[in-house]
């Protein structure tokens, strides 16, 4: 297989396979949760469960003061890499073109130097969270193979993307190929791991907020 064939396979059939696994997996996992259902709560509600649920979806984006003080690093680094990851994913022109091509929607891009800087900051934040995970006694205690795997598959697209952007390490086309491949790895791993939180956290927050909201508690 020539390089271009490999490249085209990576951005063609391989991307299709990855998309298939990703979409089927994510949809299955979401439905597996939702269809399981829960019993109707028979207690007399004090507040609106629905309003509480929706409220918590938003409010959980912001940490309470105590958590921010006690886990400052964890919260800040977590924010930085999440925001950085999303910014580089969603606001880099070539990525937007991919979305326009496959989803039919597009939006304005950020200037490439901004994306470049964001990627560097995100990479640093990701390294920092890894070091933190290894050093912090709670995180180290909780972490297993999956946690490190998920870190790796999140880190690789950023790193290879950064290399491809600067056309270093490999020739540009090969680097883009490796970059796309790393994204495909991310997509394939996604439905089987805690990466699912991207989608399920909305359900989790809703249920939490719903339980609390019925009782008149703001969470």
């Amino acid at each position: 297989m020539s390089e271009i064939e490999l490249f085209n396979w990576i951005r063609g059939p391989a991307l299709q396979i990855a998309t298939l696994i990703f979409v089927v997996g994510v949809v299955v996992r979401i439905l597996e949760v939702l269809v399981l259902g829960r019993k109707q709560d028979l207690s007399e509600a004090r507040g609106s469960g629905v309003a509480g649920g929706l409220r918590t979806i938003i409010s959980r984006m912001f940490p309470d003061r105590g958590t921010l003080q006690r886990s400052t690093f964890n919260v800040i680094a977590g924010y930085v890499f999440h925001v950085g990851f999303l910014v580089t994913l969603l606001f880099y022109t070539p990525h937007i073109l991919l979305f326009r091509d496959s989803l039919g929607v597009s939006w304005p891009a950020l200037p490439t130097p901004v994306i470049d800087a964001t990627a560097v900051v995100t990479l640093i934040a990701l390294i920092a969270v890894l070091v933190h995970r290894i050093q912090h006694k709670v995180m180290r205690f909780l972490s297993g193979f999956q946690d490190y795997l998920v870190w790796l598959v999140t880190f690789l697209p950023l790193l290879t993307g950064y290399f491809a952007f600067h056309r270093v390490v490999l020739d540009p086309q090969a680097m883009i190929a490796v970059h796309i491949l790393s994204v495909e790895l991310f997509m394939v791993v996604f439905p089987f791991t805690k990466l699912m939180h991207t989608f399920t956290l909305f359900m989790a927050r809703y249920y939490n907020g719903h339980i609390a909201g019925r009782r008149g508690v703001k969470t």
């Binding site: 298939l20 997996g25 299955v28 597996e32 399981l36 991919l98």
Partner: protein, 363 residues
């Protein structure tokens, strides 16, 4: 013109001044990324160099490379240098035809065995030898035969360098590049469809000056000419960085000369000197005339998913895959979810009452 003339003598016979010659040497040095101090060295070497014998083989090609290398630059010093080589065999340019032409090739080979430079344009069919023959000799046989006595081979054009358009999927002739078939000779790839003429003279100048082939990248191209991407040297690069793109060929962005990335420009992955050396006596290059780079100096540029398709977009129909996947996922998810739910309900139904007497383990 006598074959024994040195290049310096040949040039002077043609009325090129010493000053003009030195200017060319300085330009060559700079183009080859050599320090300016090297210009006199190049001049001295070229002055004395004997005009090399060059055999030019054209296989599965369109003659575009010859057009580019000869005519477009004919009045320039580079063109004259080109004239000063002893071009002993070239279908398009030689006067001889038929047996006489082939005899010239054989004679040049015998006379300069081990020293001549072989230039190839066009790819070589490795399928049926009848796909392309010259004087009844298959391209493959002629290449092998001629390559055997060559000092070095210059693959001119993407076809000779990487297979080019004949090699494009599904490659009906089994087209192969020179380097696919010859491995025991130094090969310099000068890809492009066509390549920039000055590059080949630069390569020849280097060879004549140092007696070696220039430093090559991992695709066999002289680094001096192919060391930078079109994107890095593109005058429209600032628009890319600012996120200003032409969306169509006739929108405001196109009129304002914004970046052509979204129109499929392959500049970021294409290495060539177009953006600096330019074409047609330094007039412009494709992006300057408003067209995205096709990436013609890269292997298999024809198969990269479409000239007007942005590099980052998939070559397959991801949308349809995703739609099917949502359908399949929904069906599977509901089925699996229903199984979960049934299991959970069954558990509740089969629940064995726990009383206060059941709180401790039995023995």
């Amino acid at each position: 013109m006598s074959k024994d003339l040195t290049i310096g003598e040949a040039l002077r016979q043609r009325g090129v001044s010493r000053r003009g010659f030195l200017k060319f040497c300085a330009a060559t040095a700079s183009m080859m990324a050599l320090p300016p101090g090297m210009a006199p060295v190049i001049a001295a070497a070229l002055e004395k160099a004997r005009r090399p014998s060059v055999i030019w083989l054209s296989f599965q090609e369109c003659t575009g490379c010859t057009e580019s290398l000869t005519r477009s630059h004919s009045p320039t010093v580079e063109g004259l240098i080109f004239d000063t080589i002893s071009l002993d065999y070239h279908h398009t340019l030689q006067a001889a035809a038929g047996d006489a032409a082939e005899a010239a090739r054989v004679a040049a080979m015998e006379e300069n065995y081990g020293n001549y430079i072989l230039v190839v344009d066009g790819s070589i069919p490795t399928g049926n030898p009848g796909f392309s023959t010259i004087a009844g000799i298959s391209n493959l046989d002629m290449l092998r035969e001629t390559a055997a006595g060559a000092a070095a081979i210059v693959s001119v054009g993407t076809c000779a360098a990487y297979g080019g358009i004949p090699h494009a999927n599904p490659n009906p002739t089994g087209a192969a590049s020179v380097s696919d078939l010859v491995s025991d000779k130094p090969i310099i790839n000068v890809p492009g469809c066509p390549p920039i003429p000055v590059v080949i003279t630069g390569v020849l100048a280097h060879y004549l000056t140092f007696g070696t082939i220039p430093e090559l990248d991992d695709l066999g191209r002289p680094r001096a000419h192919y060391g930078q991407s079109i994107h890095d040297r593109c005058y429209r690069r600032p628009f890319y960085d600012k996120g200003l793109f032409a969306e169509t060929f006739d929108d405001e962005g196109a009129k304002k000369g914004w970046c052509l990335y979204k129109l499929g420009c392959k500049g970021p992955t294409t290495y060539n000197a177009c953006a600096t050396t330019k074409w047609n006596e330094g007039t412009s290059f494709p992006i300057e005339s408003g067209h995205p780079c096709l990436g013609c100096s890269e292997p298999d540029f024809w198969d990269g998913g479409g000239f007007y398709k942005a590099l980052s977009t998939p070559t397959a129909d991801i949308t349809r895959t995703a739609v099917y996947a949502v359908g399949a996922g929904a069906a599977a998810g509901i089925a699996l979810g229903a199984m979960n739910r049934t299991k959970q309900k069954r558990m509740a139904k089969e629940h064995e009452k726990v009383t206060i007497d059941d709180l401790e383990k039995g023995d």
